[in-house]
């Protein structure tokens, strides 16, 4: 007992000592070897406690978005967006299949890239998060209350939807710039006639303020370059959007070499407010198009897909003073604007240096009409006139930059595998830390907005190698979290990420925690096949179609015995979960069904299609361990031959 007390005391002492050390660290800003032990404390979130930040990591080729906690690096959820997700039935259930509809038909997958949280007055507002599908160009909007995908809009005239999905200061627009230039409209033509014929569409998709519904306001049809990344202006540069370009050579083959010939490519500066005004006054040309607009309705728990047939295009030359090119060295990749809105950073990925343009200089050059020629009629500003400074980093392969809101910027270097901290204005490098390995994006919560929360930076690495126990040739990518509250960055922790996170977005936990939905209200369920009380549970036949209106609660299905189904029927199970409590989903799976299970949230209705092929008595059961009697949550369907006379009947407990 005494010994125990002594241990407690020494533990207390040690804690005090560590705490005071931590404080000193904050003041002196010097991270020493003795503090390495505190790295563990900084990422440790005690059992039952919550993380300080949410982090939304793009899932890359998984097509989805994953939700993590920072600083712990624990994953909480995978949100299905562009990919079918058997875990919940997304893209398999009758209600969600329309979410993945496109002009090419049902596309069960995409390559998800850059998540961005909606903003009001340049600050994260936590209403929605947007993410782009790169392969079959689409933008998705995800609710940050239900953490479910609510809307997906396809982007016509685009290919490789890479310079997206970034939002303007008040979420007026989410942009979708094309990486590939293509024939607009698409047509049969020789590939080697690319130069001068292909074009690149920059789409401005309006976001309706109340529900977030998306609509393509206009597409700016630009020269046939590759539009790589983008960032909106902030504060004084609000109303402008900046896009990096490469392949201004307009090469159509072996771009690895042929697109790296020009010493400088461009950052395209778009005055979208000017273009908006132009189209509001009737400008632009409506052209035929074909693209899907898929909307999920939370009250009917159903998605609908509508094909849109027209899009408004704008020729930049028709809006004088709206589009300019800023020469930027060496195939710039990342395009980032600092929180004040004055500095536009272009990371020339084949360079060692960062190019920082000044918005003020740009405006002065435009007003002074100091142009250095034009490209396809678009004025090119003089590099020296717009340049604010160059960061001589000493690293190689700069990609992306985020900000801490304290006058510092953090840039990733892919080739030299490091994060470099530098100061805005002096362009002086203040610190550099290795990453493991080959870092792509980085993320500071709010780090691309007017108000960053500069406590941690997460580096998202492309190559994992020896960081974890080997699991064969395929490894999850690795992320690293650094404490950036002091003068020097301190590596705290490694954690694996799912798919390939191209970028992430983070925000303080308190922004989302209080409004996260706990369950759907049954009395708000407007699903046409919902069963709102168990006495409505029934089975109806319409020719070969059979509709089973089923309800669930711990721990039974109503009905659980069904007879009169025949081989060749199309059987729809419409299942309503009657629970009205947090975290009590029920699952549903039917033997031999050629689809995934359903996971039905409390108050929700979902539908699964089963086409029985064999005579017999076939069981179904709940897949989510819902109560002590979960193993009892099951039922049978009797399947008779196609010519059988067995009457349709159903029951529970009698």
């Amino acid at each position: 007992m005494k010994k125990y007390k002594f241990q407690l005391l020494s533990l207390l002492g040690a804690t005090l000592f560590l705490t005071s050390c931590g404080n000193n660290n904050g003041q002196s800003g010097k991270s020493s070897g003795a503090l390495n032990s505190s790295a563990a404390e900084k990422v440790y979130v005690a059992p039952g406690e919550h993380d300080e930040f949410y982090a939304f990591m793009s899932g890359g080729y998984s097509g989805n978005l994953t939700v993590y906690g920072l600083p712990s690096g624990r994953m909480f959820k995978e949100i299905p967006v562009f990919s079918q997700f058997p875990t919940s039935g997304y893209g398999y259930s009758e209600e969600t299949k329309p979410m993945l509809n496109t002009s090419h038909g049902f596309v069960p997958w995409d390559d998800a890239h850059h998540p961005d949280i909606s903003q009001t007055a340049g600050e994260l507002d936590g209403r929605w998060i947007f993410i782009n599908g790169n392969n079959t160009p689409r933008i998705a909007r995800i609710s940050l209350s239900t953490f479910e995908t609510e809307e997906i809009i396809e982007v016509p005239n685009s290919a490789g939807n890479h310079s997206s999905s970034f939002v303007t200061e008040n979420s007026e627009y989410v942009v979708a710039g094309t990486r590939f230039s293509v024939p607009i409209p698409q047509r049969d033509m020789p590939i080697n006639e690319y130069k001068g014929n292909f074009q690149g569409a920059l789409s401005f998709i309006s976001v309706e303020p109340e529900h977030g519904h998306m609509d393509i306001k206009f597409q700016l049809i630009m020269p046939g370059f590759n539009y790589d990344l983008a960032h909106p202006g902030r504060g004084k540069s609000h109303g402008w959007f900046f896009f990096t370009t490469y392949n201004t050579e307009e090469a159509n083959s072996l771009q690895e070499v042929n697109a790296s010939q020009n010493d400088k490519d461009f950052i395209a500066a778009i005055n979208w407010k000017k273009v908006e005004e132009y189209v509001n006054n009737g400008g632009g040309t409506k052209v035929p198009a074909n693209y899907a607009h898929n909307v999920y309705d939370e009250s009917t728990h159903m998605a609908t897909s509508t094909m849109k047939k027209e899009v408004l295009t704008v020729n930049p030359l028709d809006v004088p003073g709206a589009v300019f090119f800023l020469p930027t060295p060496k195939s710039p990749h990342g395009c980032d604007v600092d929180p004040t809105g004055n500095y536009i950073i272009g990371n020339g990925k084949l360079s060692a240096d960062l190019t920082v343009h000044s918005f003020d200089n740009m405006i002065a050059a435009i007003e002074g009409k100091k142009f250095d020629g034009e490209a396809y009629g678009i004025p090119i500003l003089k590099f020296e006139d717009v340049l604010a400074g160059t960061v001589k980093s000493g690293g190689l392969g700069p990609l992306h930059t985020e900000f801490d809101g304290k006058g510092n910027a953090y840039t990733t270097f892919f080739i030299s595998s490091e994060v470099v901290k530098w100061e805005l204005g002096t362009w002086e490098v203040k610190d550099r830390q290795p990453t493991y390995y080959s870092v792509g994006h980085l993320m500071i919560p709010g780090g691309n907005s007017k108000k960053p929360f500069g406590k941690y930076v997460v580096a998202m690495n492309k190559i994992t190698k020896d960081r974890y126990l080997p699991v064969g040739p395929e490894m999850e990518h690795s992320a690293q979290i650094y404490d950036i509250s002091g003068e020097k960055m301190e590596l705290l922790y490694d954690f694996p990420t799912h798919g390939e996170p191209h970028y992430a977005a983070g925000c303080p936990a308190d922004l989302l925690k209080p409004k996260a939905k706990k369950f759907y209200r049954l009395d708000e369920n407007k699903h046409p096949y919902a069963v709102l009380s168990p006495d409505q549970a029934r089975v109806e036949r319409k020719g070969k179609e059979v509709h089973i209106y089923m309800s669930t609660i711990r721990s039974h299905f109503t009905p659980d015995n069904i007879e009169g189904i025949k081989v060749g029927d199309k059987v729809y199970f419409h299942i309503t979960n009657h629970e009205q409590d947090f975290d009590v989903p029920h699952g549903f799976s039917m033997i031999g069904q050629n689809t995934s299970e359903l996971l039905i949230m409390p108050g929700q209705t979902k539908t699964s299609l089963w086409e029985p092929k064999q005579v017999g008595v076939w069981p179904f059961y709940c897949t989510d361990f819902c109560s002590a009697l979960h193993q009892e949550m099951q039922g049978y369907v009797r399947v008779s031959p196609a010519n059988s006379n067995i009457e349709l009947s159903w029951s529970l407990g009698d």
């Binding site: 669930t552 609660i553 711990r554 109503t558 409590d581 002590a628 009697l629």
Partner: protein, 167 residues
């Protein structure tokens, strides 16, 4: 040696059989045979009254409802709302004409206090952890835990008013 073992085995078996016989006079489970339809179910003969039959009118249960006075007359508007709420939120497990997954609420006002009923509706988890009657009911009903349907106090009160009409 063998004889002793055999004797011991016999003795043990005998003991087990007689024990079982004394406590359970329930119909034997007939594996593989359908129960006869006309068989009347006999109540298990036990000194302990099952929780569903027990009268616990003095017990107010555990939870936020500490004291509740019922008016002399029944409020029909509340009954109507309560019946509708009961239908959507409760009938998956409670039927008013028989015991089902959970107990039959008909006649509940003669067995339970209004406070106990309200507390059970509003926080079944707390009740089954801390109230003896609720604990016993959980056991009697095969461990089928009552679901929290997240009703408001007013909604639970409407359901209670509806229960007053079930006699």
């Amino acid at each position: 040696m063998k004889t002793i073992q055999r004797l011991a085995l016999l003795f043990t078996l005998g003991f087990l059989i007689s024990c079982g016989g004394k406590e359970e006079k329930k119909e034997r489970v007939n594996y593989g045979k359908k129960p006869k339809v006309e068989t009347k179910k006999e109540e298990p003969k036990s000194d302990v009254v099952p929780a569903s039959k027990r009268i616990t009118l003095d017990n107010k249960g555990v939870g936020k409802i500490k004291n509740l006075e019922l008016s002399a007359t029944i409020d029909n508007a509340m009954v109507e709302r309560g019946a509708a709420l009961f239908k959507t939120n409760c009938t998956a497990c409670h039927k008013t004409n028989k015991r089902f997954i959970g107990p039959n609420p008909t006649g509940i006002m003669e067995r339970r206090s209004p406070e106990w009923i309200m507390n059970m509706i509003l926080d079944p988890k707390l009740m089954t952890e801390e109230d003896q009657c609720a604990k016993d009911l959980l056991i009697e009903f095969n461990g089928a835990a009552m679901a929290n349907q997240n009703l408001t106090e007013q909604q639970a009160r409407d359901i209670l008013e509806y229960f007053r009409t079930l006699k």
